[in-house]
């Protein structure tokens, strides 16, 4: 049981990380959804074996029950990741308004370096042409 869950956590993390590294924010949102699932699943798995529901009035032997603490933590984590997914979607929407797509752009430094390389290449081309 636990082995399968661990494999699922691994697969979700791999796919999620792959999606997060892409340029389109819509894919990044999906990536974070998968990563969030993976983390929550890892949290639930960290509580140990599955067991009876940890309800006080239904429990004869407390040792048989599942560990309730990671489940409580998971609920909190799910709520947080839900809110952040919405925020990311809003950000993607704003980017679409501004530039027509939802691609993450290069940062300022990257663009400056690219501009410099471009201007040096054109300067070199001019030298070639002049000769």
């Amino acid at each position: 049981m636990s082995g399968v869950l661990i494999l699922v956590v691994g697969a979700l993390t791999a796919i999620g990380t792959y999606l997060v590294t892409s340029r389109a924010l819509s894919r990044i949102v999906l990536g974070f959804a998968l990563l969030g699932h993976a983390a929550v699943l890892a949290l639930v798995t960290s509580g140990g074996r599955a067991g009876e529901p940890p309800l006080a009035d239904r429990l004869d032997t407390p040792a048989d029950s599942a560990d309730p603490l990671p489940q409580a933590l998971s609920l909190t984590a799910i709520v947080i990741s839900f809110g952040l997914t919405l925020f990311l979607l809003a950000l993607a929407g704003r980017q679409r308004q501004l530039s027509g797509d939802d691609l993450v752009e290069d940062d300022l430094e990257d663009r400056r370096i690219a501009d410099r390389a471009e201007s040096e290449r054109s300067a070199a081309d001019r030298c070639e042409g002049g000769r």
Binding site: A39, V40, A42, G48, L84, F87, L91, R94, Q95, V104
Partner: protein
């Protein structure tokens, strides 16, 4: 007294909700926000005084046992950082009210409530006694920072905001995985219980947990090589917002790292942390030297200064950790003042590009003084607070036999001074360039000139913040005693465990 520990977190959250409800009524909203922040500042100073004179305060939220519930712990380290952080946030909010009179800067209907949420997140991160609440506190703080960074929706903000959000969200996911790993390995997320259980794990597991959380907290703290999001995103926010971010967010990352790695006795990682510290110092300051915009130079300096705090942590000695704590306490107001002065220059001259500024020393001499004092302090010149902090670190480094990192730290300081001179020459000396009346394009944004009343509010709060940095240098003796006590408590761990678990062990 222990009621205050909870109130420091609850009051900003309640005030955030009520100020959001009355966000259109400017006066009422500002009164609520300022009153809440002033109250929180007073409470956190009272806490500091109380903890300094007595032992730590521990609050069990809802009366649950520490194994199950949330514990808030105000020990020496927490009380010290909390007091400085809360006073600094209050000064920035007063400043931004002054800047708002000039109808510029951040949109107050969003920024003021979000600043309170950020305050609550900062307070909870400092006070919390378990890993999962720390995760929630980080999220609270970061969600507020995402909104503060992007709420104006300008192109540059959305662009760099994306990088910022994606990287921090990824680090938060790693944090959640880390919580799962720690729970699987030890069966608890309570820091006091972890102090006892983590050293019992085998070496590989301890290294794994230590390195994992080094990456998680290191991303929040912007240490090398995880800093790339910072210099790109911070300068795009309104400068008052950047002042809060610069003063607080990365420092909270370092604070948490110091707390976790010292309490869990991660001494083995010392060398790794020292190497990262050296690289962070040098790469940050070299990045700063290459920039030509004041806000970007200062943003790269945030990265560089993080290296010094990591250096103190990496030494894992009482003197080293105490030096790191003094450094955190000194950095919070100093960095904030530098950005506040930056905001005033930007309001005055409508740009922060060095090439378009100049000659301010004749038109705004007091602004030059307000910049020079914290700038010299940042570079570590006596008699300012930076000198105290750096002297403590370098002394600890020599005692610890880590000569290489001491040399790197001194070189870094010299380069810091060099880039401060660069700002000084560009902004305050030279011919007086006419204020740029260019149309604010999508990447850049220029505030409207301030009204006289707004300007005097801004000057007063900047002056007060400068006075705070000078006070830190003046009270270096008591500050050092408190830091030393905090470092001893952290490295020993036994005090923390006894405080939190008490008789239930």
């Amino acid at each position: 007294m222990s009621l205050l520990v909870g109130l420091v977190v609850v009051v900003p959250l309640l005030a955030a909700m009520s100020s959001l409800a009355v966000r259109r009524r400017a006066l009422l909203r500002d009164v609520i926000v300022l009153a809440a922040l002033l109250g929180v500042s007073v409470m956190s100073v009272l806490l500091l005084v109380h903890v300094e004179a007595n032992t730590s305060l521990v609050v069990r939220v809802g009366g649950w046992a520490p194994q199950l519930g949330i514990v808030l712990v105000a020990d020496m380290f927490a009380a010290l950082v909390l007091a400085v952080a809360m006073v600094t946030i209050t000064l920035v909010e007063a400043f931004s009210i002054g800047q708002r009179r000039s109808s510029s800067g951040a949109d107050p209907t969003v920024a003021a409530p979000m600043l309170l949420v950020l305050t609550a997140g900062v307070a909870l991160s400092i006070l919390t006694g378990d890993l999962f609440t720390l995760f929630v506190a980080f999220e609270l703080m970061l969600v507020a920072s995402y909104v503060l960074l992007t709420h104006q929706g300008r192109q540059g903000q959305v662009r760099s905001g994306m990088t910022y959000v994606v990287i921090n969200l990824f680090a938060s996911t790693l944090f959640l995985f880390g919580v799962a790993f720690v729970y699987a390995a030890t069966g608890t997320v309570n820091l006091a219980l972890l102090v006892e259980r983590i050293p019992e794990l085998d070496t590989a597991m301890r290294w794994g947990i230590g390195l994992w959380f080094l990456v998680v907290f290191g991303t929040k703290a912007a240490m090398f090589p995880l800093f790339s999001w910072l210099p790109d995103s911070y300068p795009t926010a309104p400068t008052t917002i950047t002042a809060v971010f610069a003063g607080l967010l990365t420092k909270i990352g370092v604070y948490v790292m110091i707390r976790f790695h010292t309490l869990m006795s991660m001494d083995d990682l010392g060398t790794v942390i020292l190497v990262i510290a050296g690289l962070t110092m040098i790469v940050g300051v070299l990045g700063a030297l290459a920039q030509d915009d004041m806000k970007r130079i200062l943003s790269f300096h945030i990265v560089s200064q993080i290296g010094y705090m990591l250096m103190g942590l990496g030494l894992f000695s009482v003197a080293g950790v105490a030096g790191a704590i003094v450094f955190v306490v000194h950095q919070i107001p100093v960095k904030t003042v530098l950005f506040l002065v930056g905001a005033m220059i930007e309001t005055d001259r409508r740009t922060s590009a060095l090439s378009r500024l100049g000659g301010l020393v004749s038109t705004r001499p007091w602004l030059a003084v307000a910049f020079a004092l914290p700038a010299l302090s940042l570079a570590g010149l006596p008699p300012f607070s930076g000198f105290v902090a750096k002297f403590a670190l370098i002394d600890a480094g020599i005692d610890g036999g880590a000569v290489a990192i001491v040399v790197v730290a001194l070189v870094g300081s010299a380069l810091t001074l060099l880039s401060m001179v660069k700002i000084w020459i560009g902004v305050f000396w030279g011919p007086q360039n006419a204020p740029a009346f260019h149309a604010p394009d999508s990447e850049e944004w220029a505030p409207r000139p301030a009204t006289a009343r707004g300007w005097s509010t801004m000057s007063a709060t900047t002056g007060a913040a400068t006075a705070l940095t000078l006070a830190i240098a003046l009270f270096a003796g008591p500050l050092w005693d408190m830091s030393e006590r905090a470092a001893t408590e952290l490295l020993d761990g036994e005090v923390y465990v006894t405080d939190v678990l008490g008789s239930e062990r």
